[in-house]
Symmetry: C2
Subunit: 151 residues, 2 copies
């Protein structure tokens, strides 16, 4: 199978609010007041966690079907801690992103532990967002010296 390309493009509305277009969908990102925003939308790292949950849901159902497991629905809770000191420019010492991410998956049906463990190993191994968060990914950033065209 060939590579699939995914992309978003968007523009800042102010110093914290960003409006991204992903195909026909508009995704609005902001920050809570405690991080300098107007709290008009979920914040950047909440977007990442929601995408991670969505990915686990898709792969979870795909693998369940392969393994003949009837999940009966799937609840997913994800939590991560980060130290804002580096992002805010107060420290150079620590990493800026999540130091760890914890995921809890709760199927709607009660299922045997051995089957769920086998399911979870496969889901974790095949989930694209799990891969990008748990492993290194080359990221290249370019900045343009030409201003964008005003709408």
């Amino acid at each position: 199978m060939s590579l699939l390309t995914f992309s978003i493009k968007g523009r800042s509305e102010n110093a914290t609010k960003f409006v991204a277009q992903a195909r026909q969908f508009e995704l609005i990102v902001d920050e809570p007041a405690s991080l300098g925003g107007n709290d008009e939308a979920a914040n950047p790292v909440e977007y990442v966690l929601a995408g991670y949950a969505g990915c686990l849901n898709v792969v979870g159902h795909l693998v369940a079907k392969e393994q003949g497991l009837d999940l009966g629905g799937l609840e997913i809770d994800i939590e991560g801690d980060l130290d804002p000191a580096k992002f805010l420019g107060h420290s150079r010492l620590d990493r800026s992103g999540f130091q760890a991410i914890a995921v809890r998956l709760i199927p709607g049906n009660q299922l045997p532990k051995a089957k769920l463990d086998a399911w979870l190993r496969e889901v974790s191994d095949r989930c694209p967002v799990s891969d990008n968060l748990s492993s290194e990914t080359p990221v290249e950033l370019f900045v343009s010296t030409a201003a964008y065209a005003r709408a």
Copy 2:
């Protein structure tokens, strides 16, 4: 500064659609028809890219303020390629997530290259989502053998 905790929780609506709650915000994730969904919302990896853009916008404006740069707005395009073979269970060979991510930042004002390069280095270094994508992050997954309580 102490650690900040971010979290989402949500539930599958079907095998591809997931409804996540991030504080007071609802984030809906789906897949396009080509990946088995009903295309009712942006897909998981588009959520990750939108969160990344939102993060670069916040840090970009913060650093610009520190450096006395007037960006005059910021356009951000992000693109990534992934091979769906592993995620779909057709191959064990490759990674499942984005193999690389390319980011283009275009300020609204025309600015000198040296200033933009210094700005970009700092932004890239301090952006939490950049950190989580470009470096390893410990991810722990737990599955519950008890079914969730039905609403």
